[in-house]
């Protein structure tokens, strides 16, 4: 224990200003200290980017479209149940597009799948609808105390991409160009970050709704804030139900997730599960409904076409079994434990 006299002696050992080498505590900890000093921040970051570079060679951020048989080939020595499930997937789905497993795969898959849909359909109404939602998301973030300039660049990057895929059949960028942009880190990562901001805004604004789902995921007391800070806002943090629900609700875009895992294979014939994330009634829009202007009514009607009206009352999502009347979500993702890729229905 250092009393004042011993402490006062410290600065005299000029050659070795590190107190760990100065005796009373040093014996045990000096070595530990040295070990730590050999791992500097910049070296850790360098190591990170080296690992990322190795991954990058294996698969770009967004891969090429592959026939669904590629999945069967990958699992040819895998569990028979999974092989059965792949056969079922092949009955309904035509192709697969892989994304890099860097913790951003859900957002990256959503990005490409959504933009590709807009590029192919030139659905102007959908574009207008999502732009209205994005404006809402901006207001939400501002009201939560986020500084404008911390998120506005990411928002503009996404809006730019949206604009360039919705210029009409001839004026829009080509499919190849979209793929190229999705593989360009400076665009792709910015769009991923845009989705992360949108997601965190939604979770924070409905924290009482999300808290029970988050409760099991962290030990911290200030769960929602902590969860957003550590599991939503940083790049490379993996997504699960909470993220998907929040993003789907915030943007008003339905997402179908097909599960290629060991679920529901206990008894009976093998089936393939899927879950539709249907955006809940846009609560933030309801404040505008009071204005009862035509414009806001239009937005609501538009939302209703992608939402399942029967699910809007309790604000929860449900499986597709009850959604016969609405068209299926146009974003379809394949889930394997820990990873999301894009699926193309027949």
């Amino acid at each position: 224990m250092p009393d004042s006299t011993e402490a006062a002696e410290e600065p005299r050992s000029d050659q070795n200003p590190n107190p760990s080498a100065s005796g009373f505590l040093g014996a045990v900890t000096a070595e530990e200290g040295n070990e730590w000093s050999s791992f500097r921040d910049d070296e850790i970051m360098k190591q990170h980017s080296e690992i990322q570079a190795v991954e990058a060679v294996k698969i770009p951020f967004v891969g090429d479209k592959e026939p669904i048989t590629a999945l069967a080939a990958e699992f040819q020595y895998g569990s028979p149940i999974l092989q059965e499930k792949i056969k079922l997937i092949a009955e309904q789905y035509l192709a697969l597009r892989r994304t890099r497993g860097d913790g951003n795969c859900f957002f990256r898959s959503f990005m490409f799948s959504y933009l590709e849909h807009i590029l192919e359909t030139q659905d102007k109404a959908e574009v207008e609808r999502i732009i209205a939602h994005i404006e809402m998301c901006k207001k939400t973030l501002k009201s939560q105390g986020f500084t404008d300039f911390t998120f506005e660049d990411f928002f503009s990057t996404f809006l730019e991409q949206l604009e360039s895929v919705s210029q009409g059949q001839d004026a829009s960028i080509s499919h190849d160009e979209l793929l190229e942009r999705s593989r360009d880190q400076s665009i792709s990562d910015y769009v991923v970050m845009f989705f992360r901001f949108v997601t965190t805004g939604e979770i924070r604004s409905r924290s009482e709704f999300f808290e029970p789902f988050i409760l099991g995921l962290t030990n911290s007391s200030n769960t929602v804030d902590q969860f957003c800070k550590t599991s939503v806002e940083p790049m490379g943090e993996e997504s699960d139900h909470v993220h998907i629900t929040a993003l789907s609700d915030a943007l008003g875009v339905a997402i179908r997730v097909v599960y290629l895992d060991r679920s529901s294979c206990e008894a009976g014939p093998v089936t393939i599960n899927h879950h539709d994330f249907i955006p809940s009634a846009p609560s933030k829009m309801s404040t505008e409904r009071d204005d009862s202007t035509m414009a806001s009514t239009n937005i609501i009607t538009e939302t209703a076409t992608v939402s399942n009206p029967s699910e809007q009352e309790d604000g929860t999502t449900a499986t597709a079994a009850t959604t016969e009347d609405s068209r299926p979500p146009f974003v379809t993702l394949l889930y394997r434990p820990g990873h999301y890729d894009i699926l193309y229905p027949k």
């Binding site: 250092p2 590190n18 505590l25 921040d41 850790i44 300039f149 990562d189 965190t200 790049m235």
Partner: protein, 157 residues
Amino acid sequence: MQASRARLFKEYKEVQREKVVDPDIQLVCDDSNIFKWTALIKGPSETPYEGGLFQLAFAIPEHYPLQPPQARFLTKIFHPNVHFKTGEICLDILKTAWSPAWTLQSVCRAIIALMAHPEPDSPLNCDSGNLLRSGDLRGYRSMARMYTRLAAMPKKG
């Protein structure tokens, strides 16, 4: 590179505005290089760092704000989460928990918070960490206080 430059310029403008709001932080951008910043932060009150003025150095990576700034203390400080020789700071938001939602200004605030609430269980300065972990608050405070006086306060006479 262009994106990081644009973002840093926005932060620069924000800093000019915030100066009045937060008198505990003085962020300065290098005259010739927007990727190099320094900050002077005031040691938080009711801590052994009170009354001290601590200088931080920031090196901003090319992919900022997707990647965190590198921050370190230039002023010698005795704190469990600051490397005694290099000034490196052990703070999650500077590593895995970094997000573009943070700014240089808010990182400074987080560092001030870390000074007030050391986390001795992940020490970069083991001596300091061990003092706290063994419950020797008096030892920790006197060491930290001494280094504040020696390194972070203007010399008298």
